[in-house]
Amino acid sequence: MSAPYAKLPGWVDYGLIPLINLAVAFLVAGLVVLAVGESPLRAASLMIEGAFGYGEGIGFTLYYATNFIFTGLAVAVAFHCGLFNIGGEGQAYVAGLGVALPCLWLDQVMPWYVIFPVAILGSALAGAAWALIPGWLQAKRGSHVVITTIMFNFIASSLMVYVLVDVLKPAGSMAPQTRTFAESGQLPRLDWLLSWVGLDIGGAPFNLSFLLALVMAVVVWVLIWRTKLGYEIRTMGHSPSAARYAGIGESRIIIITMMISGGLAGMMALNPIMGDQHSMQLDFVGGAGFVGIAVALMGRSHPVGIVPAAILFGMLYQGGAEISFEMPEISRDMITIIQGLVILFAGALENMFRPAITTFFATTGTARAGKTLPAGE
């Protein structure tokens, strides 16, 4: 009685329904393309061609995907605790300081492999610190984390504009950005990785932080499903009263989870700053924090879902940029629409097609035959 819907086979629940939701989101996006007078099919093929058709395209796709893996994991970890961290954008922005400052201080004296760990730590700590305040306010004062993280995005934006314009901008420069780091403040590219399969990434800024992102995906999986802390986080997310019964400190878990979430979002700053621009620029996050929401929802808060979802959005970013050369009507903003539609259909409307599918399986008689799922979602 507590489950509002009849039981479905696992592959329907975790495979078919998300796929249908996604398909509908893209269908509606296709209608928008149609509405501006272009062919959705041609747009799709251009997009795939642009994202995966050649080495540089793949390089860019994976470069963007790196951002989204980090931010998607950030949102997902908070989801597991029943928290909605909309503040990934601001956390990543502030975390830029944790990357840029070590680079600015050390790039003349240290090699990149010394600076990189410092920057990882710096970005994670700065992101965690920016998430700590909303987390603390939720845990101790009951202020809704959704609202406070939204507010903190704006505060972060003002803060970083101030820092870039008034503090870090080199004297005499007009552009609100730091100086360009020396070579040791730059991450090695992963051209060798793609050259194994005979691809040349050309000018794509596909860099070491991609591997870090994959490592973090594994770390998050282990954290959530294989550690004591993860057990406590999930208990909290599913049932706060069970957590209280089990002696799991509510405030402690909320604050720690928000810090982990903020730390993951913060690491995203490594990719554009050390991996691409080699300086910290205004608005370098560019909405990746918000894409993380779509990625987490699409990936059902599981790293195995998040990585492909992030690559899909990387494809949209890269392919979308390519399309706009061929189809002037379709700019990058098309991706914003798709992002919104994915959030709508995979998130807010995730159960819209479930009754129909349940009926379908009930009438075909396979629903009952559904075997029990392997544990751990």
């Binding site: 489950a3 294989r226 004591k228 057990y231 599913h238 069970a242 019964y245 002696g247 029990t372 544990a375």
Partner: protein, 510 residues
């Protein structure tokens, strides 16, 4: 048959696989108080919700005043003259009494005119039925008894001729309940028809004219109250003669393992729910706490187990003082206190976890389930499988989602987890609530075994039979206090009086 207020024919309702009402027939005569009695989950509330248009029956007909009607929403029920007082009050807490009474019956788009009229009408109803309430009082500032009165006024304001009350006394003090019954008598005298849903036999005998008994979704009998007895009704309700006698030898109490001194606990609204309570439990005995639900038992359990902060008082566990600020249930666990909580589904289990994950809830920091900071999945699953075997939990699959187990098996998961820790003190709330008959015997046997193994057992249950058949000593709780201690052989009547707050002088003074 014009003297029938309500007639139900063949009402049938399924929720998924649960057959809540099976071809129910019911005839309620005008101007009577008609009781509907049955155990929790017998389908009483579903039936009444159908009558009030909250749910639609899959099959069957409803006749009101001899006329067949469709009740497709509460509005249709209200139009037909049916009013309902819900178990959980349907009041807007930060509204005034007047606003609550008017809601949905405002007369016009603009409130002003309606307000004056409502105020007048309210005054008339108050006088007519002795239902005094200050119309401008804010609901959340009123005591529960008065809030219920507002619910009744709401129904009468809408011109209800038939009033349904769903478990109305569950939250009332005995004095408030008596007052409620007087009001009901008065309403009956004015020609209203009253349907009283309850699982308390005493109430049925006290106020109803006729009584219908439900069991597992079926209407099994209707009797004239004057011609039946508590025993007969109880048997009809349960379906077999109640033989709750549990085999157990005499207790051999040892040292005091749990001791509570002057404990005062406040609930989230700031009301003192446990007032200056003191008692102790020895090794090898079961102390049962009897009482009507809502008299502070839940808060007492939560405070002793460390979930809820106590305002004052001391608790000793195995001779050592316990931090009563309620911060750390896990610390108490380590010191040998096991707790089977009253609210199994929200507190005792995480329904979305698989069985093995639930089998470590609260003990997840035990090194035997861990490799450093990591969970030792292998050990956890093996441990769960062993408990499944020992407690005959079905289906025997540690990786099955807990929501997919039946109530009885869910309770066994909790019991296995808590009992297999070999605790010194075991506190149990509502051990058999929502549990099927077969599992009840199993659970009772386990509890006795714990006692015989020298554990101190504190048992809270609203089922008086359960308390009497399991306990070695019975404490009666009323209005946050322990109002008496009795032997389990004490007659049901005497215990009932204590539970109702009727003190008998000498012993209740403690």
């Amino acid at each position: 048959m014009n003297d029938l207020a309500i007639e139900l024919k063949g009402i049938d309702k399924k929720f998924g696989l649960v057959h809540a009402n099976k071809a129910i027939d019911l005839r309620v005569r005008k101007g009577t108080i008609h009781g509907i009695i049955g155990e929790n989950g017998a389908g009483k509330s579903t039936l009444m919700s159908i009558l009030y248009g909250f749910y639609q029956a899959d099959e069957g007909d409803i006749f009101v005043g001899g006329r067949k009607i469709e009740i497709k929403d509460p509005n249709a029920a209200i139009t037909a003259g049916i009013g309902m007082v819900h178990q959980h009050f349907m009041l807007v807490e930060n509204f005034t009494v007047l606003e609550n009474v008017m809601l949905g019956a405002e007369d016009s788009q603009i409130l002003n005119a309606g307000i004056a009229k409502a105020r007048q009408e309210l005054k008339r109803l108050e006088h007519e039925y002795e239902l005094e309430v200050d119309p401008d009082a804010i609901i959340e500032e009123l005591p529960v008894g008065l809030q219920q009165r507002v619910e009744i006024l709401k129904a009468l304001y809408r011109g209800a001729e038939i009033l349904i009350l769903d478990e109305p006394t569950g939250v009332l003090t005995p004095a408030e309940a008596d007052h409620l019954f007087r009001i009901l008598e008065q309403l009956k005298d004015q020609g209203k028809t009253i349907l009283l849903i309850t699982h308390k036999l005493r109430e049925i005998m006290a106020v109803t004219d006729e009584v219908s008994v439900m069991r597992r979704g079926e209407m099994v009998a209707t009797r004239t109250t004057a011609e039946t007895s508590v025993e007969e009704l109880a048997e009809l309700m349960v379906g077999r003669r109640v033989l709750l006698h549990v085999e157990k030898g005499p207790a051999s109490p040892g040292d005091v393992l749990l001791s509570v001194e002057n404990l005062t606990v406040r609930d989230s609204r700031g009301v003192d729910m446990v007032k200056d309570v003191s008692f102790h439990v020895r090794a090898g005995e079961i102390v049962g706490i009897a009482g009507v639900a809502g008299n502070g038992q839940s808060e007492l359990l939560q405070a002793v187990s460390g979930i809820r902060r106590a305002v004052r008082g001391k608790v000793w566990l195995d001779g050592a003082p316990v931090d009563v600020t309620g911060k750390d249930p896990s610390d108490l666990r380590h010191r040998g206190l096991a707790h089977v909580p009253e609210d199994r589904q929200h507190m005792g289990l995480v329904l979305k976890f698989d069985e093995s994950e639930n089998s470590i809830l609260g003990y997840h920091d035990d090194p035997k389930y861990l490799n450093g900071l990591f969970l030792n999945i292998e050990a956890i699953r093996q441990d769960a499988a062993a408990k499944i075997e020992k407690y005959d939990i079905r289906p025997p699959n540690p990786r099955l989602k807990t929501a997919n187990f039946s109530g009885g098996n869910q309770q066994k998961i909790v019991l296995a987890r808590e009992m297999e820790r070999d605790p010194k003190v075991l506190i149990i709330g509502q051990p058999t609530r929502g549990v099927d008959v077969g599992a009840i015997e199993f659970i009772h046997k386990r509890i006795i075994e714990m006692r015989d193994a020298g554990k101190a057992v504190l048992l809270v249950s609203v089922e008086l039979d359960e308390i009497r058949s399991l306990s070695d000593r019975v404490l009666v709780m009323f209005d946050g206090r322990i109002v008496g201690e009795r032997s389990p052989d004490t007659g049901e009547g005497e215990l009932g009086l204590l539970m109702a707050g009727v003190e008998d002088g000498q012993e209740a003074a403690q």
